[in-house]
């Protein structure tokens, strides 16, 4: 369903062809990272710290090296020491500790042997002596006066150089006069919130095979961006990028968690030392203990409003707990405050270090935490004013020209259109079923552009190969093929979309930030447009006319006398490519760009749910997601992104959390105990795609991958409030926590 009329009639865009890589994936032929094996391949195993923070006094590998089948052992000493200011210094230390471990699960050594069992046994025989250091396990501990350092290599960014600190960023965004506006407000609501660490939960564990023969690391792995794997691996190994080649395997889910590396340099070094290819595959426990969760957070949000529902001011305090390595989670969280006009705004944010796994991006990173808090407070304002929550938001919704928290005006955005679509939806227009209550909330994400390349080769038979460097996480090959088919005017199944290795296509940034269909798609369209110019010139030669007399219409060259008037036939693309040799050789084009103009995407979600007052369990009975896609290239995969993001958010809202013991060991490092939603937990996820085209993309694409995870937590919290009168302020809203609040009523 499309809520807004797309003004352009496309032939291919907006259709739902079977994805080109689909067949292999339903018959079991598709090769994911762990499915690759090389002749003579060894298996690796990694030794991980059992302590959250400790000095490494000694590592004794002698017993392990003497064990059967063992071919090589590596520790931090095998890797070059990068300068602490190097952009990949933290990544290098996170891949393999050097003298100090920063979280329980931190890699400290690795071994490779003929079989997996031999490698595991040898890893268990590596003896490490630790000297425990104080471990910081919470944001409050991290920010406490005189707190010990989680990582003495960390310095606060964006401020004059100072002493090492637990704070990676301390930033303030502000406009207007917040204190005066709060004093003038008719209604002020202030509440505190917290969020536990949650994991991206991709089903495919991290895996790679590396063959370091001939002085070059040949890497096969699953990642969201193999060019970043190349540069990070090269930096950690201390070699030039050209000494690393990365071939992307199919990727079994990423959600931001596969935008960095963990295994590749270790496998490369084990391969170099053993002279054999080495395969490393994480167990699920390793994935949870040692790959990036999303940050934890503590937030305090205060919003002021007038009696007629104008949101006049927001005053926020946000702290994000990111593990023991700095990033900018706090600042990004504040920047994501962009849904409402808020003439007065103050956001004080912190990024705090903790001795927990190094956090990684997770779908609209930092935005879900902030939206959970703000959308809960805005819901309270709507209740106090007795306003419909959509009407309150419509009154304050940001439109083109309104300022984000960062101070920059929005480009053309579709929040109002999304709110109106939700308001008009069958879901919102009908009453909740007996015993259920309703909540809704809004989400925002920027989306990004960045660098992409595409090469399009036309084959002699009129088919086309579309070659990009964007790993296909959820149907992007089909989207690339659709955009190429639309531009060239040929059948979508005449196109073979290919994700090529780092030596076979131009540099392309990671599939992240909802950017692949936007930026790589734009490169595909530009390459196809270049080809149309070439095709017209070849057609002019064949037709014997001037090139400016040739037009490209519906996949064929047309000129006067060749389908352009009363007489003759157009020259199809296949007829032109068949004569390529006679007219100048192969037809091929490449486009590369650093795309600006990524279109922000808004979403509006609505949930009907029941709360079991005896158990505290929440059952979602109806759920609808509305999102502005700009243009939906392949609507099924746009819906899929909206549904997948919604359900990840539902898991975040209701169940998912890292549970640490007093020493920082994760107590629930399995899919049994870290429980992500299963089919029987959920209703169908209804979707409404809104299309407010992004003027910066040839077909109006905004990017849809991330925004869907932003609204669910507040959507559900608001519905629980409607159901029970209880305002939940701690994620997850798991049955014990809900029950406790119900009993406190």
């Amino acid at each position: 369903m499309t809520a807004t009329e797309n003004p352009t009639n496309y032939k291919w865009i907006g259709t739902r062809p079977i994805r080109h890589d689909g067949f292999d994936k339903v018959v079991g032929k598709a090769r994911f990272a762990a499915d690759l094996n090389l002749p003579g391949q060894l298996h690796g195993s990694i030794v991980r710290s059992p302590h959250a923070h400790a000095k490494v006094v000694s590592i004794d590998t002698s017993a392990a090296e003497a064990m059967p089948g063992v071919k090589a052992v590596v520790t931090g000493d095998d890797f070059p020491a990068l300068d602490p200011t190097h952009p990949n210094f933290d990544t290098a230390v996170n891949c393999m500790a050097r003298g100090e471990v920063f979280y329980n699960g931190h890699a400290i050594a690795a071994v490779t042997a003929t079989t997996r069992e031999e490698a595991k046994a040898a890893a268990a025989a590596i003896e490490v002596e630790y000297e425990l250091l104080p471990a910081i396990l919470s944001i409050a501990d991290s920010m406490a006066e005189g707190a010990p350092l989680a990582n003495s290599n960390n310095y606060t960014r964006f401020v004059p150089p100072g002493d090492p600190s637990n704070l990676a960023t301390v930033t303030n965004l502000d406009r207007g006069d917040v204190d005066q506006a709060m004093a003038d407000a008719d209604v002020v609501v202030e509440m505190g919130f917290d969020c536990a660490h949650v994991h991206q939960g991709y089903i495919e564990p991290h895996a790679c095979v590396v063959d370091s023969g001939d002085g070059k690391a040949n890497v096969w792995c699953s990642s969201q961006g193999h060019f970043r794997v190349r540069s990070m691996t090269a930096d950690v190994l201390g070699v030039e990028n050209s000494k690393v080649k990365v071939t992307p395997a199919e990727i079994g889910g990423g959600f931001g968690g596969k935008t960095t590396i963990y295994l590749e340099p270790i496998a490369a070094k084990l391969s170099e030392k053993s002279g054999r290819p080495v395969k490393l595959v994480m167990s699920r426990e390793e994935v949870l203990r040692a790959s990036g969760p999303a940050p934890s957070a503590e937030l305090r949000i205060k919003v002021g409003a007038t009696n007629d529902g104008e949101l006049t001011a927001i005053d926020g305090w946000m702290a994000y707990g990111v593990g023991a390595f700095g990033d900018m989670a706090g600042l990004i969280g504040a920047m994501s405050v962009a849904s409402y006009k808020f003439p007065n705004l103050r956001m004080e944010t912190y990024t705090a270090l903790t001795n927990t796994p190094k956090s990684a991006a997770y779908r609209a990173p930092s935005a879900p935490h902030a939206a959970w808090a703000i959308e809960s407070v805005v819901d309270e304002i709507a209740s106090e004013l007795g306003m419909d929550p959509i009407d309150l938001r419509l009154k304050n919704a940001a439109v083109e020209g309104d300022l984000t928290a960062m101070g920059m005006p929005h480009p053309k955005v579709g929040l109002v259109e999304c709110l109106e679509a939700m308001k008009a939806s069958g879901h919102y227009q009908s009453e909740p079923v007996e015993g259920a209550s309703r909540g809704m909330a809004v989400g925002f994400w920027f989306n990004i552009g960045e660098e992409s390349s595409a090469t399009v080769n036309l084959n002699e038979d009129g088919t086309a190969n579309v070659i990009t460097g964007s790993p296909d996480i959820g149907g992007s090959r089909a989207s690339m093929a659709l955009m190429a088919a639309e531009t060239l005017g040929i059948d979508v199944y005449s196109i073979t979309p290919i994700v090529a290795d780092t030596e076979s296509v131009g540099f392309t940034d990671v599939t992240e930030g909802s950017r692949a269909t936007f930026a790589t798609g734009k490169a595909v369209v530009e390459a196809c447009e270049d080809l149309i110019g070439q095709l017209k010139a070849r057609a002019a030669t064949i037709m014997g006319v001037e090139v400016d007399e040739v037009a490209w219409v519906d996949g064929a060259a047309v000129s006067p006398g060749h389908g352009g008037g009363e007489s003759g036939e157009p020259l199809t693309l296949a007829q032109i490519t068949a004569q390529a040799k006679r007219t100048g050789g192969p037809l091929t084009a490449t486009a590369s760009l650093n795309a600006a103009g990524a279109g922000p995407s808004f979403a509006v979600h609505c949930a009907d749910l029941k709360v079991d007052e005896e158990t505290g369990e929440t059952e979602i009975v109806r759920y609808t997601a509305v999102q502005d896609a700009g243009t939906a290239i392949h609507p099924s995969y746009v819906e899929g992104q909206m549904q997948g993001g919604s359900v990840q958010g539902i898991g975040w809202a209701l169940n998912e959390e890292y549970i640490y013991d007093a020493n920082g060991a994760m107590e629930n490092a399995s899919f049994l105990d870290y429980r992500i939603p299963v089919a029987s937990d959920l209703p169908l996820i209804e979707t409404i795609i809104v299309e407010v085209p992004n003027p910066a993309h040839p077909y109006g694409v905004r990017g849809v991958g991330e925004t869907g995870i932003v609204p669910p937590m507040a959507t559900i919290g608001n519905a629980i409030k409607a159901a029970t009168g209880v305002r939940m302020t701690s994620l997850p809203m798991s049955p014990p926590k809900v029950l406790k609040k119900l009993n406190e009523r």
Partner: protein, 146 residues
């Protein structure tokens, strides 16, 4: 030929080259390694390879009839019921087990029938719909055949 401690999953993948069966957890919690073991749905990571001696094992590679995809495979493709595709083999095997047992399941029965399989991409919506559509197609085929 497998060692006594080798799992059926590892034997399928490493010794028979049947890589369609995936390992997502190794502890029987995700269903990516689902196989039919004498017609019953099981996690192959929890079965020792020697236990499979003399038994009929069906993996995702054995669902299609030659080049003719099983209706579940076709409806998964047409309904975009896969995104990354790594859980898909397990879901196809589990859905086949479900429809073999119950050719006309309700939405709730489908959801409980697939509750042992984790998917992190789709939110299950399009998977449930694809299984519903396959059930309709299979029923039509069997009625025509009868």
């Amino acid at each position: 030929m497998s060692a006594d401690s080798t799992s059926l999953l590892d034997a399928l993948r490493d010794e028979l080259g049947l890589i369609g069966t995936k390992e997502g957890c190794g502890t029987g919690d995700c269903g990516s390694c689902s196989v039919l073991f004498d017609g019953k749905l099981n996690c192959s990571c929890l079965i020792l390879a020697p236990e499979a001696e003399g038994r009929e094992i069906v993996t995702v590679e054995g669902i299609a009839d030659g080049d003719q995809l099983h209706p579940l495979q076709q409806t998964f493709l047409e309904g975009a019921a896969l995104q990354c595709g790594v859980c898909t083999p397990g879901f196809l095997v589990a859905a086949k087990a479900l429809l073999d047992e119950n050719p006309d399941p309700t939405e709730t029965e489908i959801r409980y029938g697939l509750a042992g399989n984790l998917c992190r991409c789709t939110g299950y919506d399009k998977i449930v719909r694809a299984v519903q559509e396959a059930a309709v197609q299979l029923k039509t085929t069997s009625e025509q055949g009868a």
